[in-house]
């Protein structure tokens, strides 16, 4: 089933999503990466934007700075979320993030938090930056430019997707299901 969602997302919006449903997003998305989250969680500096109900994308975009200080998008794609798993529960629980868009998935602790607070993980196709860049209309705001390119980015998006619901808000992870099946199949192989 396909869902067109507009930000900010509500708990009801994301609780309604089932594994392997597809989603397109209209509105605003925030971009963040390792260094951004090290600042938020390890250095304890609250994000300078309200992330309540937001959709966050794991990215460090390629951009060109214009003379007026704004940024032109060049290539905005997605990085591996698993590497930043330890920050995800804090994004959901402390800052009210309703969805993370990334590739590679999140681990059990995050899955549990998402079920408790009502958040989802939406898989984008990793490496498909040309398409994602075309679906981002503009870069509206940038905070923490000293972390370039791992700043906190605010993107305006139109029909961003299709994204695949890979971890739902009820404790189900498509990654875990596929990996559990793979483990069984490997055990059964005749080497």
């Amino acid at each position: 089933m396909h869902h067109n969602l507009t930000t900010p997302l509500t708990e009801a919006d994301v609780r309604a999503l089932k594994l392997e449903d597809t989603v397109s997003i209209d509105g605003v998305m925030f971009g963040l990466r390792d260094a951004t989250q090290i600042r938020i969680f390890d250095e304890g500096i609250a994000p300078p934007a309200d992330l309540t109900g937001s959709v966050c994308l794991h990215t460090a975009p390629g951009v060109r700075k214009r003379a007026d200080g704004t940024y032109e998008k060049l290539s905005i794609g997605t990085t591996t979320s698993t590497r930043m798993d330890r920050f995800a529960p804090g994004l959901f629980e402390t800052y009210g993030v309703r969805a993370i868009v990334g590739k590679g998935g999140l681990l059990q602790g995050s899955v549990d938090t998402m079920a408790r607070v009502g958040s989802v993980y939406l898989a984008i196709v990793g490496g498909a930056a040309a398409l994602a860049t075309a679906q981002i209309e503009s870069i509206d705001q940038v905070w923490w430019e000293d972390l370039m390119p791992e700043c906190l980015w605010k993107f305006r998006v139109k029909d961003f997707g299709p994204l695949i619901v890979a971890i739902d808000a009820h404790g189900n992870s498509l990654y875990q299901q596929i990996q559990a099946r793979a483990a069984e199949r490997i055990k059964a192989l005749k080497l």
Binding site: T80, G127, I186
Partner: protein, 292 residues
């Protein structure tokens, strides 16, 4: 044009080409994967493959980067007539720096401890330059700006000789399982067998990144192992992007070297679905021809 100007020009151009233009062999393998997922009725996997191919079309139409990861530059240079290799090194580096500044490409190179950026996509030991020599009367340069999602999935194990062929397969399948969704499958699996530990890793990189899909190893035993492993890796059902499906790997490539009687090194290096690489051939007169 002097031969060194040609090398610098080619290096700059190859960086951009490799990031924008997916090689034909990789495109064919991706289209085949989409058809396979369609035939097997894997809706999510088919959706992923459709998006991958649509993304390649978008990059072609808009002359833009396929993926935002501009990688770390790895050059393979086959030198077929006498040149000054120090100047070669300098010009390859310069080409990377010019591509980075002109486009501009995102720079990824940082100090391993301080994480301080160089800002140029070059630095100590980067670009990686692998030299080979022949009597071809040409200089062939292939550049792979190796992406990090797949490069982070690199493995080495010094197996014992007693673990044999079965041990090799078991280790490779464990690496694929541990990698899961992270290296952006469907992937190209590069395996280095034998040599010393460093040689095994280099062979694995050669296999994942520099060999065209569809070419099998010239040693029939090794080629048979490539086929068996491809079949078994795809039986895991990890699938495109780790979301399930029939295509976990597009290809398995093995390169090998002789090893010590008491060693059995196996290295695994993964390449993501993008399979980025671009090649230029330079004549002694300095003319450049590009091939994909």
């Amino acid at each position: 044009m002097s031969i060194y100007n040609s090398i610098e020009t080619a290096a700059r151009e190859l960086y951009l080409r490799a990031l924008k233009d997916i090689p034909q062999d990789v495109r064919a393998a991706l289209a085949e994967a989409r058809d396979r997922e369609n035939q097997e009725g894997n809706a999510t996997a088919e959706q992923v493959m459709f998006t991958i191919l649509e993304n390649i079309d978008t990059a072609d139409a808009e002359d833009t980067l396929v993926c935002q990861d501009t990688g770390l530059a790895v050059f393979k240079v086959n030198i077929g007539f006498p040149i000054d290799v120090q100047e070669l090194d300098r010009r390859l580096r310069k080409g990377c720096e010019r591509a980075t500044a002109d486009y501009p490409l995102r720079s990824n190179t940082v100090h391993p401890l301080t994480r301080k950026h160089t800002g140029t996509n070059t630095g100590q030991g980067i670009p990686v330059i692998k030299l080979a020599f022949s009597t071809s009367n040409a200089i062939e340069i292939t550049l792979a700006p190796k992406g990090s999602g797949s490069e982070n999935m690199s493995f080495l194990k010094m197996l014992t000789p007693a673990e044999g062929r079965k041990g090799v397969k078991k280790f490779v399948l464990q690496c694929i399982f541990d990698s899961g969704a992270r290296p952006c499958p469907p992937m190209i699996v590069g395996i280095g067998l034998g040599g010393t530990s460093d040689v095994a890793m280099q062979l694995a990189k050669d296999a994942s990144t520099f060999r065209k899909i569809g070419a099998s190893n010239s040693d029939p035993d090794i080629a048979a192992l490539e086929r068996e492993l491809l079949d078994q890796i795809n039986q895991t059902g990890i699938g495109p992007q780790g979301l399930g499906g029939a295509t976990t790997a597009l290809a398995v490539h093995i390169e090998w070297a002789h090893t010590h009687i008491s060693q059995n090194p196996v290295a695994v290096n993964i390449q993501c679905w993008r399979g980025e690489r671009a090649t230029a051939v330079i004549s002694p007169e300095g003319t450049i021809e590009y091939a994909s």
